[in-house]
Symmetry: C2
Subunit: 417 residues, 2 copies
């Protein structure tokens, strides 16, 4: 058992652990008496400590063998820390300026030490709720997704390397199962974990559970999630897994990483931006009607897909035939290359819209909600936003084949009620 | 290295090996002096020996570290013997009456000992060329594919078990790469391995290599082959991997087994039946016009899909919710179950037609041809059959979305020229 020597840390024990690691002591400088330790984990799963010393700082993240926000009654594999670190390092290789640097990984302790993303870095979701514009967000996220998804797919890899990586990440099955359960299953049934604004949305929830067309679409998305090993995904790419400043974007927390359909990452990010957009009416005040901010969010949604697809195609154009999927000798004319690229991107667009919708639905009726909605203090306003999100997501899920362009989606979102 | 002690056998060395295995000696009875050894391998890859003794008999199959029909210049992993035996045992568990019993596996020696399928068992392809009717073929093949594909998919398995198996079979990557190369790549480019009836089909081959619509379809099928881990496939299910009598059907040689799209197995079998059908005109004589036989082949093509889909749905109906794909609590009404089943079967039908077409094309213009065509002695007749097969396959590949029923496909085949 790789975790035989596992010990859960806490604020008082962390310094002792760091003292035992000379490389880490060097980063902080001084001795443990000089260090400040603060637990800041606001996520659902793990413990995150910020350590600062006379010379430097870092973040220490430890997984415990259960789900933090639920407790020991919901066990969860320690191996997620291993996969998180493995993905973080791979992302570092592919998009170094968009992820924290990993300094240290302790497998038995399920513990990762990484670059501290100091203030003014904040979690994107909090920035979106505050109404802060991030001018580089779309560009950075497009860059991140284009690079990490392209370079771990068969567009860049040999089938030899790809199948080896697929096999490796099959090991992160418990995290995949959590996603299957809370995103693709429970929202569509009567499950103890579900919660929603009740009684306001009771009939909406009932209608969702009786909607055969929705369940058919969800079946297709779930089976692609479980069976299509298209690229190495972040796996949990919502606005709570991104830290931002005006000129920096950093993607953290890829503990759900595995080989799955690219649209799942794209949909996670876009679905959460759509939730942010719809929640704005709930945050509007007489001083700040948020109308300008809503336009920026719409533009960011559109730009993200647009820039993603441009950048992805640039990678593809620069790497024709480097992966095993499309051999240069077969796809040997510019017209043919354009044809297969167009077909690829349009399937990916459909997947993206589908997963975006699935991600939205589960945030309204499933176990884990989003602060964008939860922080709306006026209940009527909150319920109005939630119902609008649910309605739009259902529409997107069922009618997405009618959309071929992100601008059409943005227009539909803007006009939705 | 698991194969450190590997030694290639030959007709003179086989008995010595068997002598070292008491369990095998017991099956044959007597001593090596009483045994008859005969090499019968007619396949492309491996060596197959029939051993008979006073008490019993068996077949001993050994992989060599290269492709038999090419020689040492084309190396090929010995691990294929391990995967073949693993799949054979799994098939034995799921459809015991349709596969030979495995008696013995020697991993270092890449060697499997299995039940001898004695005459009148012959390779199906030879029976089809001879014009022999096999009344139970469709039923048996439908049974085999329905059972093996259903029970290794997420319709029957938990995602836990499924991902474990997927990871395991990622190890058979070299065999998958061979398929990628000879089925999905080389037929669509100028490759040294390709051969075809030249100069007769030169312009047809040229046209194929310039057909963008075909290459687009092939790209989709190849990516599903590489990325969709839908079920444990046989992986090489043509009429040369099936041995038959009037009342027995046995599926052998699953050395290409891996987790892939179900339609690949279905398409392999149906595509080879279509080749057999089209080749009949080349085998017709004034004594035997083969018209009745052609009708039986058409019926067998239709019945195979029809019976497969019935049997597959029976497995599904009897096992609702046993796999993780469609939870009973979500897919909770008969109407909804019918809706998702219909959608599943119609996607599978499309995949099946696509892979059938791909399998046909590669047999006309790629490295490995079929005896159904090769044994037509009149060159003009042979070329006519080959061109018709190529034309029909291209039609199927491009227009398959217009077919929703196997009878329509059979009618189109019957009317094709
Ligand atoms: N490298 C970092 N720098 C600064 N803060 C971080 C860093 N990593 C995590 N955090 C903080 O800790 C919180 C939880 O981290 P996260 O990796 O998302 O854990 P979880 O897996 O439990 O969701 C984040 O929301 C963020 O506030
Ligand atoms: N169990 C068996 N019983 C009788 N004959 C067999 C058996 N297995 C293989 N053969 C014969 O050996 C030939 C080659 O076997 P096969 O497993 O297809 O090898 P390869 O992998 O080289 O294609 C078959 O076509 C068949 O004639
Ligand atoms: Mg998190
Ligand atoms: Mg979120
Ligand atoms: Mg996390
Ligand atoms: Mg064979
Ligand atoms: Mg074989």
């Amino acid at each position: 058992d790789i975790h035989a020597s596992f010990k859960p840390l806490d604020e008082t024990l962390v310094a002792g652990y760091v003292e035992s690691q000379p490389g880490l002591v060097t980063i902080l400088g001084g001795t443990s008496a000089d260090w400040n330790v603060k637990e800041v984990g606001d996520g659902n799963l793990n413990f995150v400590y910020i350590l600062t010393g006379p010379k430097g700082s870092f973040v220490l993240k430890q997984a415990l063998p259960y789900v933090r926000c639920v407790g020991e009654s919901w066990p969860m594999t320690l191996e997620r820390a291993y996969f998180e670190t493995t993905v973080l390092r791979e992302h570092g290789r592919l998009a170094s300026h968009l992820v924290p640097v990993v300094y240290h990984f302790d497998h038995p302790m399920a513990l990762t030490v990484m670059e501290y993303l100091a203030p003014p870095h904040i979690i994107l979701r909090k920035g979106l709720i505050a109404g802060t514009v991030y001018p580089l967000l779309a560009q950075h996220m497009a860059e991140f997704m284009a690079s990490t998804l392209f370079h771990t797919s068969l567009l860049a890899l040999s089938t030899m390397k790809h199948r080896k990586e697929v096999a490796h990440f099959c090991g992160n099955i418990e995290m995949c199962r959590l996603t299957e359960q809370v995103i693709f299953t429970e929202p569509y049934m009567d499950a103890a974990n579900n919660r929603w604004s009740s009684p306001h949305l009771d009939t909406d929830v009932q209608a969702l559970r009786e909607d055969s067309a929705i369940k058919l679409e969800i079946a297709g998305l779930k089976s692609k999630f479980c069976e299509r090993t298209q690229a190495l995904l972040h796996g949990d790419l919502h606005s709570g897994s991104i830290m931002v400043t005006q000129n920096s974007t950093k993607i953290i927390d890829p503990e759900f990483g595995f080989y799955g359909p690219m649209g799942f990452d794209l949909g996670a990010f876009l679905g959460n931006l759509i939730l942010a957009y719809i929640s704005q009416d709930g945050h509007a005040t007489s001083q700040d009607d948020r109308e300008g901010y809503k336009l920026w969010l719409l533009k960011t949604i559109g730009d993200t897909w647009q820039l993603f697809s441009e950048k992805f195609l640039v990678h593809w154009d620069q790497n024709w035939g480097s992966g095993d999927a499309y051999k240069k000798e077969v796809y040997n004319t510019k017209d043919l290359q354009l044809l297969v690229q167009k077909s690829f991107m349009s399937e990916l667009f459909q997947d993206t819209l589908g997963y975006a919708a699935a991600k939205m639905i589960r945030r309204i009726v499933g176990i884990a909600h989003v602060e964008d909605m939860e922080s709306i203090s006026d209940v009527e306003k909150k319920v109005t936003c939630e119902r609008r999100a649910l309605t739009f997501a259902k529409h997107l899920l069922k009618e997405r084949s009618k959309y071929s362009d992100i601008r059409q989606v943005c227009n539909a979102l803007q006009g939705s009620r």
